[in-house]
């Protein structure tokens, strides 16, 4: 059957995921970014099977660096080159963006990351090419 009806679709097993060990340790960092509105739910969310995809943990620096590479490449004409620059220099730039006015998008994109994520992605970008 190529197009199973709804009752057949439900017969496909839905995968349940086990709790992720230690996930709640990384919760408050992101929860703090979200402010009071969602703080409570982020802290109290149960790492049960239904909540498998509902992490509030740090995003891996490899994925963050891949997101940076959606815009930044070493051969850019105007977009600043970020790959291979010293991690300390990158982190100083990234930490300065939030609250700045005379920038185009980076003050918005950095405000959505935690301090730990900024630090980790600066290290990752310093180490490599896209």
């Amino acid at each position: 059957m190529i197009f199973p009806g709804p009752e057949r679709r439900r017969s496909v097993p839905v995968r349940r995921w086990p709790a992720r060990a230690g996930w709640s340790n990384t919760g408050p960092t992101i929860a703090a970014l979200l402010g009071g509105l969602t703080l409570a739910s982020a802290l109290t969310a149960e790492p049960a099977s239904e909540a498998a995809s509902e992490h509030a943990g740090d995003v891996a620096p490899e994925l963050l660096a891949a997101i940076c590479s959606s815009c930044h490449r070493p051969d850019n004409v105007a977009m600043p080159v970020i790959h291979g620059r010293p991690a300390g220099q990158l982190l100083a730039l990234l930490e300065r963006f939030p609250g700045q006015r005379d920038v185009t998008v980076m003050h918005r994109l950095t405000v959505g990351l935690s301090g730990r994520e900024l630090e980790a992605v600066a290290q990752r970008l310093a180490a490599g090419t896209p």
Binding site: F3, S53, L63, S70, C71, T104, L113
Partner: protein, 351 residues
Amino acid sequence: MSNAVIGGLRTLDSITHSYERLTAQGVRHVPAWAVGLDFEAREVVLDEGSRLPWDRLVLAPGVEFDYGRIDGTVPGIEASWPHAWQAGPQTELLARQLAAMRPGGVFVMTIPDNPYRCPPGPYERASLVADWCRQHNPTAKILLLDAKDSFTKQALFEEAWAARYPGMIEWLGGAAGARLTAVDVAAGTFMTEFDSFRADVGNLIPPQRAPALLRDAGLDDGRGWCEVDPATCESRVVAGVHVLGDAINANPMPKSAFAANNQAKACAAALIALLRDELPPPVLFMNTCYSLAAADYGISIAGVYRPIDGVLTAMPGSVGTSPLGASAALRQLEAQYAFDWYTTIVRDTFG
């Protein structure tokens, strides 16, 4: 970037890309249409009759154009009024129609209600059409018939239009009765709720939805767009099937190329874990969308989004646009960023 082709800033060749670099990296490219999804056998049915098995399936099919809600639309209407919302032959056709428009002619664009692919795209197109007309057909008019009462980056576009193309672009919104209800292609007429308009060049951008391949398989659950778990892009309807890009409801993220690119990266990270029977990792998505109001006039919108309790959530303070009243230097910088971004996203996507 196909809007830049219509406005004469780029050629279609310069925005045409092959899969060669991907296949050189070991990606298998099967040049066939997927015509069916067999969830029981976990196989994609191809138009030439063969089947491709999957452990996990990723679907990124884009959008389907839905003329069904507009009276008088006939098969082949795109030959008269190209939507040019899927870059290709229609892009060049619309560019040729614009170039051949009579002096002082009216370019009519109809714009659907949300959601649709590339929310600021119609207004960028209007800008670049106006830029072309300013140089080659200065008494031409561009009329935008919009189903919506407002649109993304509206104040920024209107600021640019007043500065660069005064009196040339007229926008009518849904509250002014500008929602398209019917067309008379032979007469060259667009009918809205309140009025009718004669076009010298017609650009009907139809309402959109997930393609029939997905809807016929029930992946949209009858809603027109596919619901997914934002952390993995896994379908809410069928386990093991991931959908990303314009075909999903990714609210509050827009249907942008950047969003689709970031969904693909998050989905890839999830797939690596899932195929190893591990828990999918935390992910986030960014969006940056540049629009050109002219070749040297760029504006942007950006934001960061995370899945929180299974709901895609905009991070506070992250979503916003370029400032109003910015310097010419900033607009020029953002235009350069727009062209840089295009080069980068092409390399990122096609190798």
